[in-house]
Symmetry: C2
Subunit: 222 residues, 2 copies
Amino acid sequence: MELQLQIKMNKKLFLRDPEQTELGKKIIQHSIEVINKNGFEAFTFKKLAEDINSTEAGIYRYFENKHKLLMYITAWYWSWLEYRIMIHTLNVNDPEVKLKKVIQLLAATVEDDIDTSHINENILHQIIIAEGTKAYLTKHVSEDNKDQFFKPYKDLCAKVGQIILECNPKYKYPKSLSSTIIEMAHFQNFFMNNLPALTDFGKEDESKVVAFLEELVFSAIS
Amino acid sequence: MELQLQIKMNKKLFLRDPEQTELGKKIIQHSIEVINKNGFEAFTFKKLAEDINSTEAGIYRYFENKHKLLMYITAWYWSWLEYRIMIHTLNVNDPEVKLKKVIQLLAATVEDDIDTSHINENILHQIIIAEGTKAYLTKHVSEDNKDQFFKPYKDLCAKVGQIILECNPKYKYPKSLSSTIIEMAHFQNFFMNNLPALTDFGKEDESKVVAFLEELVFSAIS
DNA sequence: TTTATAAAGATAGTATTACTATCTCATAGA
DNA sequence: TCTATGAGATAGTAATACTATCTTTATAAA
């Protein structure tokens, strides 16, 4: 039996489905690497094309522009994370155990546990930390939101909010606490590695980020 | 007696000091408006030049590029905020009262209380919410950090961390909690107005953001 | 009053970016 | 064999992100 995870993506994010062709898969795979290398601002379709030995025009057949590609990648990431949370909390009944698992999945480096073929989840995690918020921090958030481009992110937030409510049905801010955990799992990691004065952690000490978030969340809801 | 706040800026952020000339002040004033109008990605020196009836080359005499200008603006904002916190906590001895004041100053809309001439602090607050993180979410954070471009942000974080420790000297994560408050004061505001599914607040209900943050912080440290 | 000199306007030019368009070629299926 | 699809190759354009140079203007020191 061979199983492979296939995440269903919002069709409006692309012009041609990258999952359906060789070039498409290469675009996703290499875009993650090229964005990681020089950052999203310096990232161009031309550089990506050179990296995969294809042409700029070829990539434009798949994505309208680099921002759509970033939204595709981030949407994929959040869907994948929600899937991982689902897997790792199957048969777990205690909501507090669930919540701890969620925090760990959010804040700790990925051990490559699920086969997703062409996507390097570790690098993906890195670029979501540094570039993820840029997907929605734009003047056209609202239109993009209407097109449901952030649905995976919102679904994840809702799911975590649900678990929070399972822990304490009376807690008043499940969604805000949820988005706080999600963003801070990434921001504290970024700060720890790049602006350490903004944290209490040493370089690459993810376990402390997890501990901080756990304490924060459980003191908030109890 | 006429007093005016003058914030001392890191000299490496500009080529010519914008505070010293008419054009310089116009650049700062109008850049805030032009960035606010179409977002930082769409912002160009050419558009700014048109807005102030000057020339592109003229602006390049003040700032190397638009990212330096963004860092200048954000640095100014954080310095200004620290100054406001100082003013509003003068003669306040109870650290918990101080911390509440800090949260309010971070999360609530600015009432224009201090004279800073050419800068519209309300619009500035808006662009810091949407664009502020882009100042440091780059591949060159570390070099920029070495040049002390983020010092005002780090100073503010340290100051808030200090107040947290005054409230509870045994709390283990004062700096991370501080950066969490600072970022979330902005993110929850952005979410509330643009991606409401990620929060528990209605549109423009800043007082709830304040309440959420207060509860979060005080349950964490007590 | 002359003379520096600094600020800023005017103009031009270049490399790169962000696309669009078109034409060809290979191949896989019907 | 026909035909649709994917993708390589090439060309072109408007805008962006600068750099350079020359002139004008305002001010202030000599």
